[in-house]
């Protein structure tokens, strides 16, 4: 009897101790494949920032045809990275996503065109074929075309839209006059493929006044009401932003960390270092908290979509400072 009590007592203590040491699990769904666009999270993982907060983080890479909103709807992740237009559109469709942090201050999206396709300014777009990604990335483009008054359904005087895959072949093979590119990724793929910057004319969404907020962290509203989950997110945001600031200060090291975590082996050192340099320009200026003025600008841009607005009314409760207030102070 005495041995039984002693054994049970030791077992209980071990379990209790075990539970205290067990880390909180968080699954993060990235918006695209493993690359320096997500350096902050990989740095936080490798450098132990998540571990210091007691978090056991699993990072799931995305890719073409993976919509982060779908993944979180199906319960495949606790927190996802998504662009704000896609998140707001999903919110309107019935998936209550809430922005808890915004590491990316500026937009890196641009439309890159061939000069020999006869394009020198947005006025030349009519009648041309323009490549666009879908799966949530088409909204800023559709907003811009609406603002320019160009129809995208292929009708007379509008533009022909091509669904771009995950490469820049349409512009290289002349199937499209322009393709959508990010300052940190596809633009350099075009340069690497042999076209020189003199052959190209580039339209940055920031310069055209149609930029929308990009990579932000989103969770489901009902989960935020659970204090344990909210506490987990506070720790996650704090560690992630620490990772981002480290990555901005040490871009080459961050690029190497991303490469180490790339299971596909498809990324190259040169491309990642270049990407990290460009991404650092976009995250600088944000400490992680969403700037409400930027949010309002994005919403206004999406609402002004003319006949085909991305969202039909101003969203409510689509963002919260509750997490960043606790995480960053």
């Amino acid at each position: 009897m005495k041995t039984m009590v002693k054994t049970l007592g030791v077992a209980a203590l071990t379990l209790w101790g075990g539970m205290a040491a067990a880390a909180d699990e968080v699954t993060l769904q990235l918006k695209w494949v493993t690359q320096a666009q997500f350096a902050g999270y990989y740095v936080a993982l490798d450098k132990g920032f998540y571990g210091e907060e007691g978090l056991d983080v699993t990072i799931k890479p995305g890719g073409p045809d993976i919509a982060p909103a779908q993944v979180i709807a199906g319960g495949g992740a606790d927190v996802v990275l998504d662009w704000m237009p896609s998140a707001l559109a999903s919110r309107e469709k019935g998936l209550p996503l809430v922005n808890i942090a915004q590491p990316f201050k500026s937009s890196g999206m641009m439309l890159t065109c061939r000069k020999d396709a006869g394009i020198a300014s947005p006025a030349d777009f009519a009648g041309k074929t323009l490549g666009v990604w879908f799966f949530g990335n088409e909204y800023p483009f559709l907003s811009w075309m609406s603002k320019l008054g160009l129809a995208t359904d292929g009708s007379e005087g509008g533009v022909t839209v091509l669904k771009q895959g995950f490469n820049v072949d349409p512009i290289l093979q002349g199937q499209a006059a322009c393709v959508s590119t990010m300052t940190y990724n596809e633009y350099w793929q075009i340069i690497d493929a042999g076209l020189s910057p003199d052959d190209l004319v580039v339209f940055k969404y920031e310069d055209q006044g149609v930029a929308t907020l990009e990579d932000g962290m989103y969770v489901l509203e009902e989960n935020l009401n659970d204090p344990a989950f909210a506490e987990k997110m506070v720790k996650f945001v704090r560690a992630s932003m620490k990772g981002w600031k480290y990555a901005e200060a040490n871009p080459d090291e961050a690029a190497m960390i991303v490469l180490d975590n790339d299971a596909s082996g498809a990324q190259t050192e040169m491309h990642q270092k270049r990407m990290m340099g460009e991404v650092a320009k976009l995250t600088a200026g944000s400490n992680g908290a969403l700037d409400v003025a930027d949010y309002e600008r994005t919403v206004a841009s999406l609402l002004s979509g003319g006949s085909d607005p991305v969202i039909s009314k101003a969203p409510e409760g689509a963002w919260t400072h509750a997490i960043t207030d606790k995480a960053l102070n």
Binding site: Q70, K93, F135, E138, G154, V161, L162, K163, G165, Q175
Partner: protein
């Protein structure tokens, strides 16, 4: 809760009704009613379960929501139908089956071609469409031509094999008889061997109808102008518009059944003499 009860009640009612109908002497009306009641019961259960358990519309929309979306999007659905089915699948089907038929006749005429071409055709047929589609899109461009090319690749080999088989279906006695009538190669082909091959040819054509639709839709996942059933399905999934996805699926099901049914009706008319048609 009420919706769950409704779903269970619909299930019980449908099941009971079908059992009663199945016990009646079999005629045209009961033959039609049983599958219709089964389908309706499934739809009612689906509706009840989705509403009763409050399943999110971004995961599984209710049939009523799909019907509403279908009615509201007939313009888009028609446009996609024209792009995928009429321009992509049908043209590829005609080219694929036509060229396979011609190739089969040539292979039959010159037996040495059979030994070389059939294994190569076998190999080409084994190539996965998911691998071929992006390559064909790169070669033929983003529009319907690459989708037709994918359909040709998918449909060619089954049609070729079936037609070759069919052309060998006549026996020596029949061919000898034609020879005694002083019929040459082409006469025998036209009057004896092709009619005898028709059951096999229609087999190939029916297989081709399903493959053509699959090929056209899947090929659109890899690059398309912003029209077409495959494009709409994949981008609507990305936009979480699942009700439109299901509406497209309904269209695909109707089109696929109609295509197959049309070919089957033609088969009935042409091969009226075959034991399988005399039922």
């Amino acid at each position: 809760m009420g919706w769950i009860v409704f779903a269970i009640a619909a299930w019980g009612l449908g099941w009971g009704l079908n059992i009663w109908l199945a016990r009646l002497p079999r005629n045209r009306a009961t033959g039609l009613a049983v599958p219709v009641i089964f389908g309706l019961t499934l739809l009612l259960i689906w509706e009840g379960v989705v509403r009763g358990f409050g399943i999110s519309p971004v995961l599984l929309p209710a049939p009523s929501a799909i019907a509403v979306r279908f009615a509201a999007s007939t313009g888009i659905l028609w446009e996609d139908f024209v792009q995928t089915v009429l321009k992509g699948a049908l043209s590829g089907y005609v080219i694929g089956c036509g060229s396979a038929f011609v190739m089969a006749v040539i292979v039959d005429r010159f037996p040495f071609l059979q030994r070389g071409l059939l294994p190569v055709g076998n190999f080409v047929a084994a190539l996965p469409i998911i691998g071929m589609a992006p390559i064909l899109v790169m070669w033929f461009g983003f529009d319907w031509q690459s989708k037709a090319a994918v359909v040709v690749v998918m449909v060619f080999f089954p049609m070729l094999v079936n037609t070759v088989q069919g052309l060998q279906a006549t026996d020596n006695m029949q061919r000898d008889l034609m020879r005694t009538y002083a019929s040459g190669y082409w006469g025998t082909l036209r009057k004896l061997r092709l009619p005898a091959a028709m059951p096999f040819i229609f087999n190939g054509l029916k297989i081709g109808t399903t493959l053509a639709l699959i090929g056209a839709i899947v090929a659109e996942f890899f690059g398309s102008p912003i029209r077409g059933m495959g494009f709409r399905i994949s981008t609507s999934v990305g936009q979480l518009a699942l009700d439109l996805v299901w509406a497209e699926i309904v269209v695909a099901a109707i089109v696929g059944s109609a295509f197959y049914g049309g070919v089957a009706l033609l088969e009935k008319a042409v091969t009226f003499w075959h034991p399988s048609q005399r039922g």
